[in-house]
């Protein structure tokens, strides 16, 4: 008998049996465990049991009666079966594509394949355009370790290099993982610094090791509020007006998010409205366009850019 058949029969038997079954009762029913050598049969059964559990089958050993005299095996239906989830075809197609979108994500694929069973056809048709390929600078194992720690409220230990290059070991109570502007961050309570910090996962220098149960986040905590947006990313900011050549305008629109076209001048230059919280950050950014950009307003930003240029030009 092939192992696959044996395992399918074992799952079916324990799912459908009205009461827990002892190993003896399982042997009587399933031919696969009916050898003469009891030790080897028992070992085979133990291996099968471990394999099923490793795959997430909730195979339990419990007392067969209220006195717990005898132990039997069971798979409880309410713990085995996926609960009903009323996905629309659009939702399940979107999830199916998302699971295929990253690299090295077999767990996402095997997970989503369990979710598609009940949906009204159309998953293949809806996903005909192919996966929406995504790529990230984040190591997938580290990302999943961080997500897992955050979801279980565990602490993790890891090496971290700051943007300025300082490397140190951190122990962090994981509260959340946040995806912003193409990058993943772990947000949590840094035990040494006694503060909530966001760690860009691409700057983590080691694997994340589990450091046991962690602290609970403060009431009303939202991980996303702790991941800094780019200075020009927040809504409702004042705008600066900057004129660019037509070519530089295309580059600036792609590089500085939130930028909108104000108008095109008669000389062909394009005036962009660039949101800015802090002229000190925007100034250097404008310098990258060299003589193809001119700050129009506010005056403070214009003066800042002129001062920076004079410092280099030997004014």
């Amino acid at each position: 008998m092939e192992p696959l058949e044996r395992l399918l029969n074992l799952v079916g038997l324990l799912l459908e049996a009205p009461t827990p079954l002892t190993f003896e009762q399982i042997r009587e029913t399933l031919e696969a465990y009916q050898g003469d050598n009891l030790d080897s049969v028992k070992r085979k059964f133990e291996r099968d049991k471990d394999m099923l559990r490793a795959y997430g089958v909730p195979l339990e050993m419990i007392g067969t009666d209220v006195w717990d005299v005898e132990q039997g095996y069971t798979i409880r239906k309410e713990r085995y079966y996926l609960p009903d989830i009323a996905f629309t075809p659009e939702e399940i197609t979107a999830l199916y594509l998302a699971a295929q979108s990253g690299s090295g994500t077999t767990d996402a694929l095997s997970g989503v394949r369990k979710l598609i069973y009940g949906v009204d056809g159309g998953v293949l048709t809806g996903s005909a355009g192919g996966p929406l390929a995504m790529e990230s600078d984040t190591d997938q194992d580290r990302l999943m370790a961080a997500a897992s720690a955050a979801s279980e409220r565990h602490a993790v230990r890891f090496g971290y290099r700051t943007a300025q290059g300082a490397t140190s070991d951190r122990t962090v109570d994981a509260f959340g993982v946040v995806f912003r502007s193409g990058r993943w961050y772990l947000v949590g309570h840094d035990r040494e610094r006694e503060a909530i910090r966001a760690f860009r996962l691409s700057r983590v220098t080691t694997d994340l090791s589990d450091a046991g149960p962690g602290a609970e986040p403060p009431a009303g905590f939202a991980a996303i509020e702790h991941v800094e947006s780019a200075p020009w990313d927040a809504a409702g900011l004042p705008v600066a007006h900057v004129a660019f050549t037509a070519e530089a305008a295309v580059l600036a629109e792609g590089n500085i998010s939130g930028t909108t076209r104000d108008h095109v001048r008669d000389d062909g230059w394009v005036v962009l409205a660039v949101p800015t919280a802090d002229p000190a950050t925007l100034g250097p950014l404008i310098l990258q366009y060299g003589p193809e950009a001119e700050v129009l307003d506010p005056p403070a930003l214009r003066d800042d850019v002129i001062a920076r240029l004079e410092a280099v030009a030997g004014g």
Binding site: I85, K114, A222, S229, G254
Partner: protein, 326 residues
Amino acid sequence: MADRPRASVKVEERLARMLAVVPYLIQHPGTTLDDASRLFAIPVAQLRRDLEQLFLAGLPPYGPGDLIDVDIDEDGGIWIAMADHFARPLRLTRQEALAVYVRATELAATPGIPGAPALTAALAKLRDALGPDSLGEATGIAGAEPGTPPPSLDAVRAASASHDRLRITYVAQSTGERTERVVEPEAVFASAGHWYAAVWDVEVDDERLLRIDRIASVEPTGERFSPRGLRGAGRPLYTPSDRDVDVRVRLCPAARWIAEYYLARDVTEHPDGSLEVTLPTAATRWIARLLLRLGPDAEVLDPVSVREEIVAEAQAALARYGPRRA
């Protein structure tokens, strides 16, 4: 049949697949082998073999009427009966639930994803249905508002799907020049916050990687192309060329991000936390402008001609601000 030690990984995979495929096939009677093979990424021959195993399984007392009934008709349609206990799949493992949730969060927070609202709705349903048992405290897994996608994204993505050749104007960051090109967009993907297209450039007769936000205009040529299998996601974002110039730069700690953001070679670190890196570039003007931006936080070591280029760029830029500055 005796168990072979090497068979165990294989049988685990096969079991995992069966416990997901069979519920789908029961709920969708008549699904063809081909469709099931594509949906579950199982080769047709393997799927057939696994279904034959299923045919031998069932519920006690395992008489002929107790076994699962699997029929594959002449059109390849699969019909399964007597398997009600496998009509619903096994719950997702913690790892599977988290992985689906993380992938969906990532995609929903990427600008320009057509299914983003559906994904957001699906995430909420997953949270509700799977609950802390499967998913833990999922509320901490979150994506930011995705922002605005590049204007050309939809047109390029559609052309990539339908294999339509496009005429585009493109502004290269390195030269700052706008060129008109005829391209065959094969693969479209997002990476670290930007969208890219791997294209065949018809006039230069070579492969190019374009950032979609730098495509200034797109129009169809009316011609179709046959894909050459250009690589999409996972490829290096900068293709070195033998015309590249190497610029050696010293970066203060405040400018170290340059080494993460751009392709940097031969990185050496100084005790004060500054870095020395080589930035390969097709045009030094682009590096000169980057250095202008970094100001005192960066210094060109070689070639020194780039230092003069930085000063020239600054003087030209200053001239924009009126004669009193000239």
